[in-house]
Symmetry: C2
Subunit: 287 residues, 2 copies
């Protein structure tokens, strides 16, 4: 048996012009769908440069919008026309004055299947997200779409096997990570050296391996001020094998996944069945 679905990952660079970025994103979604993609995923905050590099971008706050809102309207219209599931990377959401980093899932009838507000918000040199986003209040969510059960998580969530596990326990078949991550100037890194792209990839390959689900990461690329976004978007299968990986330039990555490979693997390895939740109490204690 085979339940095939084709993922389309939109790896792209952004300019300082939001309208241009949206236009570019929509064009690439159309390109992916034209090549057979059924679930198309945009990067995190795909409409703008990564404004969180500075702690105080007032213009970014001005552009924050409601969901549903002008952007989801455009995404919805496109999803309807292309008959795809479109994961709107993430949008800077203004929810009645409270701000979130929010992923949206649109269905092939244009319906808003659901939203996910990023749970883990970094605050770091060049990643000042806590100046912009409240921690998500949606909890971890898995959405049944016509092309499979998907869990949208966002960027920094990548480092938290806790939420990947929760998504898998809820029945996610594909965990999606729209992302904006890059290398900072050596000068800024001080003494901390390492292959961060490898570390980032390994974190998510671990999620695929421990949960026997597909994992897809969709990063931006290009250089913005002090950050060089490394691209490297990829899809791993439920055995954590990398099926395809992008370079560091704009790329539409098409990857066919067989969702019927998931359940036999989960049944054979029995990672869920043999969990010991009474041993995990420390995970839910306050930091």
């Amino acid at each position: 048996m085979s339940r095939l679905v084709t993922l389309g990952l939109i790896q792209m660079s952004m300019t300082s012009d939001p309208a241009e970025n949206l236009e570019k994103a929509l064009g690439k979604v159309e390109e992916a769908a034209g090549k057979g993609a059924q679930i198309v995923v945009l990067p995190e905050l795909f409409q703008s440069r990564y404004f969180c590099q500075r702690p105080d971008d007032a213009f970014a706050f001005e552009r924050a919008e409601s969901i549903p809102g002008p952007t989801t309207e455009k995404l919805s219209a496109l999803a309807t026309r292309l008959k795809i599931v479109l994961v709107g990377g993430s949008i800077f959401e203004n929810a009645a004055g409270k701000h979130f980093n929010t992923s949206v899932v649109l269905g092939p009838q244009g319906e808003l299947i659901g939203t996910y507000r990023k749970a883990h918000i970094p605050e770091d040199i060049l990643y000042h997200e806590q100046q912009y986003f409240a921690p998500g209040d949606t909890g971890i969510r898995v959405f049944a779409t016509p092309f499979g059960r998907i869990a949208p998580l966002i960027c920094f969530d990548q480092w938290y096997p806790e939420v990947a596990r929760i998504a898998a326990l809820q029945g996610a078949e594909i965990i999606l990570y729209p992302t904006a991550i890059g290398t900072v100037d050596a000068a800024v890194e001080e003494n901390i050296t390492g292959d961060w792209e490898q570390m980032w990839r390994n974190a998510m390959l671990g999620h695929a391996a421990c949960n026997n689900v597909y994992v897809a990461a969709v990063n931006r690329c290009g250089t913005e001020d002090q950050l060089r976004f490394w691209g490297g978007s990829f899809v791993a299968d439920p055995s954590s094998a990398i099926l395809a990986r992008a370079g560091d330039q704009d790329e539409v990555l098409l990857v066919q996944c067989d969702l019927d490979k998931i359940r036999p693997l989960q049944d054979a390895w029995r990672f869920f069945k043999n969990r010991k939740p009474d041993t995990y109490g420390e995970l839910t204690m306050e930091n």
Copy 2:
């Protein structure tokens, strides 16, 4: 600053003669210490063939022993003489009639620093561990040794990011995984295909990446009945880079680790600081 420690991983095959296996293990520990190893780690159940391949090995039960007991006495004497920390892979423990798969940590004065009873027990084609071992009741433990803070976990625990995280939250600098894992005959695997060694490695690289700690896996090698143990013992650094990896034969793997690389990385990436425990409730719910 550098706080250097040399790990010695004893990858070895076992015969059907327990005395021979113990003798071989002790010899290889001595070899590792002679080459500078300060923390030496033996594989899971290093004194015997992997008896759990069958569900009913009465002879294995006869050999199960108390801790402290005859084996820890020998390990203790050796640790004292070599002035090392010796992690006694695991021992089939008989604790007043209750049986566990137990790792022991002996210090350079021969002291029993602590024990850890394997929490996650597989029950699977050729891995009938639930016929032998009760789930561990020690909880996850981190032991302060003269050469660093180590957390012994065991084999199937590898697939549980939950317990790797708990070890790291408790301050583990090195997570150790004595292991017995191999490939089963293609005939037995039915339709489940994949690169299991890669999946196994990726799971643990994920733990290194998400926790910024050293991870060391120590597997057995050789073929026993229907199982081909793949060896492949390795050490990953706190950025999840593989520092050294064994082949599929007997090997004493010496790896120098700088424990002072851990904290700066943890402080820079802030994965612990930005955890959201109130989002993780589902992890502690019964399966």
